[in-house]
């Protein structure tokens, strides 16, 4: 599998503020790559460095196995992006905006192609309308249309669902999934919506305080993590005591009157149920989940210690 993006030891300082200390990650062809980190972690700075908007102080950025420093224009011709929010020329129509960017592409882009892309994002009927009258969701879709213009090999989406209503989030998520499934694009997706990344991404990196905390396959990383178990019994205090004494689980919490919650390795769950039954504790319900959100919080907390 070829490496589309390779970032190593990226550093950037703004004045006295060290925005990036040591960012490393790799994106492979066909990946939907989750780019995660709390606010101020350095995600946007790293993405901007990757696109040549910000000049890194140190480190190496290679895209399509070429150095960004030496072949920036050629590389940018193969990337579509939305950084932060999709801003367009408000006084121009959707179509006129896309034509401006089409004229900047490495290869000729016809009006027919522009119409097809506008149709793909559901804006063909509004192509003559000025962007200033567009909702945030429509601009976001126009942003995705703009990324697709030159049929790029890599699409970089920075917070593509920020500020969208629930329907808008679903629409954009569907669009990203279509890009992955129908067009087979390599996508880098930065988002605060961890559930979204969990649903779409196959690989991810977590960045905090300007450096890489962890990078890898989403499934592998989540499998190595404890499950969050919610259990409902007829004697929760006894069950809680049992979990703490017999299984040395310190994370047991009473979520409400009926449910206790704890974290444990997946393999231990059958044994816990068996012991509870032996101790005459009636179990009504057991629900176990591996959530990216928990993993993310755990990683960030470990970082802070």
């Amino acid at each position: 599998m070829s490496t589309v993006v390779s970032v190593s030891h990226l550093q950037k300082k703004f004045g006295s503020f060290q925005a990036l200390q040591d960012v490393n990650f790799q994106v492979h062809a066909g990946d939907v790559f989750g780019f995660l980190g709390p606010n101020g972690a350095g995600k946007s700075t790293a993405m901007r460095c990757m696109l040549g908007l910000i000049h890194a102080d140190h480190g190496d950025i290679r895209l399509f196995e070429q150095s960004l420093t030496t072949n920036k224009v050629g590389i940018l011709g193969r990337i579509g992006n939305i950084i932060e929010k999709p801003d367009f020329y408000k006084y121009l129509s959707a179509e006129a905006n896309l034509k401006i960017f089409a004229r900047m592409a490495s290869q000729p882009i016809t009006t027919t192609t522009i119409h097809e892309i506008l149709d793909f994002v559901g804006l063909l009927d509004r192509r003559k309308d000025k962007v200033k009258g567009f909702s945030h969701g429509m601009r976001q879709r126009l942003g995705i249309a703009q990324t697709l213009l030159a049929d790029p090999d890599l699409i970089v989406l920075d917070e593509p669902t920020t500020g969208l209503d629930p329907q808008g989030i679903i629409d954009v998520r569907k669009l990203i999934l279509r890009l992955k499934e129908e067009k087979g694009k390599t996508i880098i997706l930065s988002s605060h919506q961890l559930q979204e990344v969990e649903m779409i991404a196959n690989r991810m990196v977590i960045i905090n305080h300007g450096h890489t905390v962890i990078e890898g396959e989403v499934a592998t990383l989540l499998n190595a993590q404890d499950c969050t178990v919610k259990m409902s019994t007829d004697n929760n205090p006894k069950a809680q005591d049992l979990l703490q004494t017999r299984f040395a689980i310190s994370s047991v919490q009473q979520e409400n009157q009926d449910i206790i919650q704890f974290s444990v390795k997946k393999e231990k769950i059958p044994m816990i149920i068996e012991v509870c039954v032996q101790e005459s504790i009636g179990i009504f319900e057991v629900e176990s989940k591996k959530q990216l959100e928990n993993y993310f919080i755990q990683m960030i907390q470990n970082e802070s210690i």
């Binding site: 901007r48 801003d87 006129a96």
Partner: protein
């Protein structure tokens, strides 16, 4: 990549902005007001000039003709046109930065130098358009309403009468130098635009620099004598030299050089800075 496509893109953006028509509209209204005011009471206006010569000279023919009207219009407006030019050119980079479109522009397969060069080209074309429009209105309206005739110009050396047959090339030269002077303002404002992330700052800064340099240029203080010849504002009115007799070729060449050197300095600063600028907006 066809560089003309980038310049065309810039033209599309300029043409779509309502503020681009502000300058054209303002020039149209101002020229119309001046021309019609001269039509209504032009003779009394020029009598201030002719009165002091009436004891020694006799004025015959059509003194208040289209050529004189065009000259008066130019003299009145060329001072104010820099603001109208800076209003557009000062916004070319910083406006995109404020709007957030600059990051989109710079993540397309086009170098920063190409982006800046196309902005400069578009800015120069807009400036040329303003100058040509001013010329068409001033000469066209003037000649249409007042007819033609010899041009009478009062300058610091006295009264100069330029025969009608000798006027057209002087106007062409005057407009060319006026364009160069105004394009220096455009170049300055684009250079300042590279340093800013809001569109108002470079426009205000450009006008402030023009005002400051004009004050330095007109203050009769010896401390400024050495720098005065090198300020671009000193050469903003060099177009007037085309209406002197004898024709001051050296003076005009000097002005052209000073203005061109300013162009080069502003280009160099902006290309150097813009290439290294971190786009954080």
């Amino acid at each position: 990549m066809n560089p003309f496509k980038n310049v065309y893109n810039e033209w599309v953006k300029i043409a779509a902005k309502p503020r681009s028509y502000l300058g054209v509209g303002a020039i149209t209204v101002l020229v119309a007001v001046i021309v019609f005011a001269l039509k209504a009471d032009g003779l009394s206006f020029i009598s201030f000039v002719t009165a002091s010569f009436e004891q020694t000279l006799t004025f015959g023919g059509n003194v208040l003709n289209g050529n004189l009207v065009a000259f008066i219009v130019l003299q009145m407006l060329v001072i104010h046109v820099p603001l109208l030019v800076a209003l557009i050119t000062g916004d070319l980079i910083s406006g995109e930065s404020a709007m957030g479109t600059l990051r989109l522009l710079l993540t397309h397969p086009i170098s920063r130098h190409q982006v800046l060069a196309s902005k400069y080209m578009a800015g120069a074309m807009y400036t040329a358009f303003i100058v040509v429009w001013l010329g068409i209105l001033a000469i066209g309206l003037g000649r249409g309403l007042f007819g033609t005739g010899d041009l009478m110009v009062l300058n610091s050396d006295g009264l100069v009468i330029i025969p009608e047959s000798d006027i057209t090339w002087r106007y062409v030269g005057a407009f060319a130098v006026a364009f160069l002077a105004l394009n220096t303002v455009a170049t300055l404002s684009i250079a300042l635009s590279c340093f800013s992330d809001n569109s108002v700052g470079p426009i205000v800064a450009t006008m402030s620099i023009i005002i400051l340099f004009t004050i330095i240029g007109t203050l009769d203080v010896s401390i400024f004598d050495s720098i005065r010849p090198f300020l671009f504002t000193t050469h903003m009115a060099s177009w007037r030299s085309f209406f002197e007799d004898p024709f001051p070729m050296d003076e005009i060449s000097n002005s052209v050089w000073v203005l061109m050197i300013h162009h080069v300095i502003f280009w160099a600063i902006s290309f150097f800075y813009f290439h290294r600028k971190d786009i954080t907006t």
